[in-house]
Symmetry: C2
DNA sequence: TGTACATCAGTGAACGCGCGTTCACTGATGTAC
DNA sequence: TGTACATCAGTGAACGCGCGTTCACTGATGTAC
C-alpha cells in the first residue's frame, strides 16, 4: 500500500541527519564515513545536507557534540542511581563514563580523535567542558577543595580521567580480552575498583 | 651535478615503504592516508608497493607491528635506565609506555584503532603480545605471583595498563591541556605518580 | 669466464569508483495586504 | 478569507579529483652450464 508520505520538506532533517550520521559512523567507521552515505540513510538527496551543515566537518563536529552531551547524561544517570555519599558519587561518575564509552565506541573515537574534525567548534567545546566538569566536581567533592587550586587536585583529576578513559579504550580495542568473560556485575566491580585506585583515600 | 643514482631496483623498498607510510600517516592522518601518497614519498611508482604488500591493509598491519616493537623497546629502555628495584622497574615500564605514546601519537592510534586494519595479522599479534608482556611481567614481579592466576592479578594489570594508556590518549587529544605547561621533570613526576596509583602498595 | 635464460622488482597507462561540492531548478511554506 | 510573492528546503545532474588495483611491459639481477 506504501502510504509512505513523501513530503517534500522533511520536517527536521537536521536531527535526522545527525542520527543517520551516527549509524553511518557505526557501520562504516570513521575512515569510510561519507556525507553521501549519510544523506542516503536519511532518505534524502546527497545535496540536501548542505542546507543544514556547511560541510562534512561541521556535521561531524555536531555529532561529536551530541556524543559529549550523551556522555554527561550517562555520568549523571549513574550518579542518581548511586549512594549519595561523596565517594560513591565519584565512583558512579567513573562507571557512567565507562558505560557510555562501551555503549558508543565509535562515538568515543570521534570525540577524542582528531580525524575529520576541526578543533574550534564552540558547541562542541562547551559540551566537552560540561562532561569534564561532572568528573572534576565529583573529585572536588571527595577532596573537599577546588581541585584546580592545588597540584594534588590536578593529579587527582588526571588520574581519574586517565583510568576510566584508558580502560574504556583498551576494552574497545579488544586488548583486555578477559573482560569479555566477566558478567555485568563482575565488570562493574572491576570498574569500581579501578576508579577507586585512581583516587586513593588518604 | 645530480649524482642521484637512479637504480632501477631500490634495494630495500619494503623498509623504505614502511618509513614512508609512517610519514604519510603522521602528515595526513589515518583518514587521509593513501598508498599512492606513500609510494610517492618513497620515490617509487604507485604500483610498486604491490610487490611487497598485498594491499593497503597489509602495509598498515606491518606498520602497526613496527609500532608495537618500538613500544616494547621504549619500555625496556626506560627500565634499563631505572633503579633495579621491582617497583621502580614497574614504574619505569609505565613511563616508557607514555613516552612512546607521546612521541608517536599517530602510531598509537593506528595500533589501537581498528581503522583500515585487519585483526588477524600474526606478526602484529606477536609484537602486541610482546609489548603486553613487558607490563605484565613488571606487575608480576612487584606482586610476586603469576598475575594470571588470580583475579587480583588481572585487576592489577588492567589498572596499570588503563592508567598509562588513558593518560597518553588524553594528552594526545589535548584534553589534559595543563600537562603542556609542565616541564619534563614535572611531567615525569606526574606520570610516576599516576602509575603508582594503579598498583597500590598493600 | 661467458652466455642464455628465468626470475624478480620496477614502470606507466588505464580501469572503474565513490567522494564532496556546486549549480540551476522546483516544490512547499509563510507572510503581507 | 484570498492572493501575490518572498523565502526556504529540497532535487538531480554535473564537475573534477584522488583513490586502489590491474595489466602488459621492461630493465636488472642471479644462476645453470
Amino acid at each position: 500500500m506504501k502510504t509512505k508520505s513523501k513530503a517534500y520538506h522533511h520536517g527536521d532533517l537536521r536531527e535526522a541527519l545527525l542520527a543517520a550520521a551516527e549509524q553511518e559512523l557505526i557501520e562504516k567507521g570513521a575512515d569510510a564515513f561519507s556525507l553521501r552515505g549519510t544523506a542516503k540513510r536519511a532518505g534524502v538527496s546527497h545535496a540536501a545536507p548542505a542546507h543544514h551543515f556547511k560541510d562534512t566537518m561541521a556535521l561531524l563536529n555536531a555529532l561529536a557534540a551530541v556524543g559529549f552531551a550523551r556522555l554527561t547524561m550517562s555520568m549523571k544517570e549513574e550518579q542518581q542511581r548511586a549512594d549519595p555519599g561523596k565517594r560513591a558519587q565519584f565512583i558512579a561518575s567513573g562507571v557512567g563514563y565507562v558505560r557510555f564509552a562501551l555503549d558508543n565506541p565509535e562515538m568515543l573515537q570521534l570525540m577524542f580523535g582528531t580525524a575529520r574534525r576541526s578543533s574550534n567548534d564552540p558547541e562542541l567545546a562547551r559540551n566537552a567542558e560540561a562532561a569534564f566538569s561532572v568528573l572534576v566536581n565529583a573529585v572536588g567533592n571527595v577532596r573537599g577543595t577546588h581541585v584546580f587550586k592545588t597540584e594534588e587536585g590536578w593529579r587527582d583529576v588526571a588520574a581519574s580521567w586517565s583510568m576510566v578513559h584508558g580502560y574504556a579504550q583498551l576494552v574497545i580495542s579488544g586488548k583486555l580480552g578477559f573482560v569479555a568473560r566477566l558478567d555485568l556485575e563482575e565488570q562493574r566491580n572491576l570498574i569500581e575498583d579501578l576508579v577507586a585506585r585512581a583516587l586513593p583515600e588518604h
